[in-house]
Amino acid sequence: MKLGGFAGRILFINLSTGDIRKEPLDTTLAEKFLGGLGICLKLYYDIARPGASPFSAENPIVLGTGPLVGTDLPATSRVYAVTKLAQSKAIGWCGGGGMNLGCMLKNAGYDHVVIEGSADRPVMIKIFDDDVEILDATDLWGKGVKDTCDSLWDRYGRPMGIMTIGQAGENRVIFSMAYIEGGATMGRGGLGAILGSKNLKAIIAKGTKGVGVAKKRRYRAQRDKLLKTMRDYPYLKEWQELGLIKSLPFFPIDLYKKIKKRRLACVSCPIGDKDVVEIKDGPLKGFTTRSTSMINLITPMVYGIKDYRESIKCVSMLDDFGMDMFEFFGVLSFARDLIEQGIISSEQVHDKIEINSLESLETWARKVCLRQGLGDLLADGFNAILNKFGDKARPYAPYIIRGMLPYTGPRGPLVWELFGTMELGQSLDPRGPHVGASGSPTYFARRPLDQFPRHLKRMGAPEDAIKRILPKPDSPEDEDSLKVGRLLTYSHNWFSTLGSLGICARAQINRFYNAETCAEVYSSVTGIETTKEELMIKAERVWNLLRMANVREGFTRQDDTLPDKWFNASPFKNYVTMRPITRQDAEGMLEDYYDERGWDKRTGIPTKEKLRELDLE
């Protein structure tokens, strides 16, 4: 049976042997795991050897796009990669707005690319329709992300999808990322380092095969309805013009408009969020860069950089090296504190660490990236620093979950004191403290509870679950009035749905989709008739497979870490009552999550009954 939406082929590339083969996509994979993220996980689970270390040749990378990618449904361009990650040593995904890459891969005729083995020299993978080659990339090795992309576009022309790493990935910096066309990031958990360990500098894709849908008339009706809703959205223009600055107004709009050169969008996205900016004055006049968003470019100001122009230059530098900003600032601040305490001898450190100085940050970014001096240790992340300096260093360490810095928290980089699904989700994500999969109505502070049912229905939560999540109408308000743990179950299922179909998970996009619409478009695109209820079961299956993949690696409830510092000074607050969250409260939320999932509350492992119910035995 030829499915719509899917290209129908999987590309297997072994970098050790040079073997390249193309295999048909097994349609039962699509029927059970939807596509995209779901099939990536299933392929990884079937191929990988349990226990393989992240940097070994036995750790494959499975890339993939969902069945909606390549169509003109709005904002359907996501690309996912599943691998064992460098930071958490867990199996997880890295997802990025696909820019051109997702559409091009699909048009080249592949839903997934499985990369196995490890090359003995720098290489890149060229995927131009049926012409697939492993090419020497010695001339690109040592280049930053921007130079690599520009070199490849000069050589092969635009439009062309590119995934690449910078020097940080080459040198296995544990928080290095992969970049899609320099504008979208993948893998704060260290995908860049995994690519680097395989000597794989870049993947480029072009295609001319086209993407068809199974039921055209039905598809067009659903698409037009979605587009009309977006066109009628009263804030559409503001979102298009301001992006994240609209909801996070941390930068003067007039100034933003002055430096904004262009907004960029992933293929099919009506609300593009990538920014190209040009500094208009001062010593950096004329400096131009692209970024995932303007908010990203000014984040170093949180750490003390005063001049927004220096902040832009700093982020651009880190992006070019190809490493995560939060982890970089985190390990650097930690090292500075250890030097101040005399735990790291200042005699070993010739260059002073000044978090608010562009010059110092440039020096240290280079040291980390190229593994020079103390930078070699910092490149291995928090756990390596703690292992080296032991208990005397621990009091100065920031919040850490699975070796990484949580995004949000009372003293995190993004100060957020309410404990909602995104905060709890940082403990339950096998990749480490990411927030992207844990969205829910708690994303916005103090949203009235009577608005929750509408959002929960949109996310595919059934009526009985909504009753369990929200307080009964006649119950007194107390600390358990909103079951954040139970709610998080449906955040994860909703994210699994979006990720497996290929829809962008950003709040300003996924607000236009709901579970019913997803089931309708999945059915019309693929030809696999799927109800909303069936869709959500498949999404649940995907999340359970993710858990089982990590259970197979030895992860249990003990790894769902709740950092002590969340409950000490300036603790998180209950989303509804604003009372401080205790460890006992948070442990209760974890148990609620396991219970709602049908997992063993003691071990955090899916029960046999649940696995049988989901046909995952």
Binding site: G210, G212, K261, V267
Partner: protein, 83 residues
């Protein structure tokens, strides 16, 4: 017959390729940017929007542009065309 010309504003284009997707679907039956009759190439500093010789100026690309980079300019002539 009331027809129109297509005005292009490359400075507003984000490279989303919705125009190419729509065009290719109408004329080839599948979503295939390489087969579209409108060609968009975007970099950080430049954007070019052009039309192939096969373009009939049907305007489907304009209908799918969300960023006002393409616009129909009505005029009373017998032929459409790009401004």
């Amino acid at each position: 017959m009331k027809v129109f010309k297509i005005e292009v504003k490359p400075e507003l284009c984000t490279g989303c390729l919705r125009c190419e997707l729509a065009c290719s679907e109408v004329y080839t039956g599948s979503f295939n940017p390489s087969a579209a009759r409108i060609k968009v190439v975007v970099s950080d500093t430049e954007c070019s929007i052009s039309f192939t010789e096969d373009c009939t100026y049907c305007g489907i690309c304009v209908d799918h542009c969300f960023y006002d980079a393409l616009k129909k300019i009505p005029e009373q002539t017998e032929e459409g065309g790009k401004l």
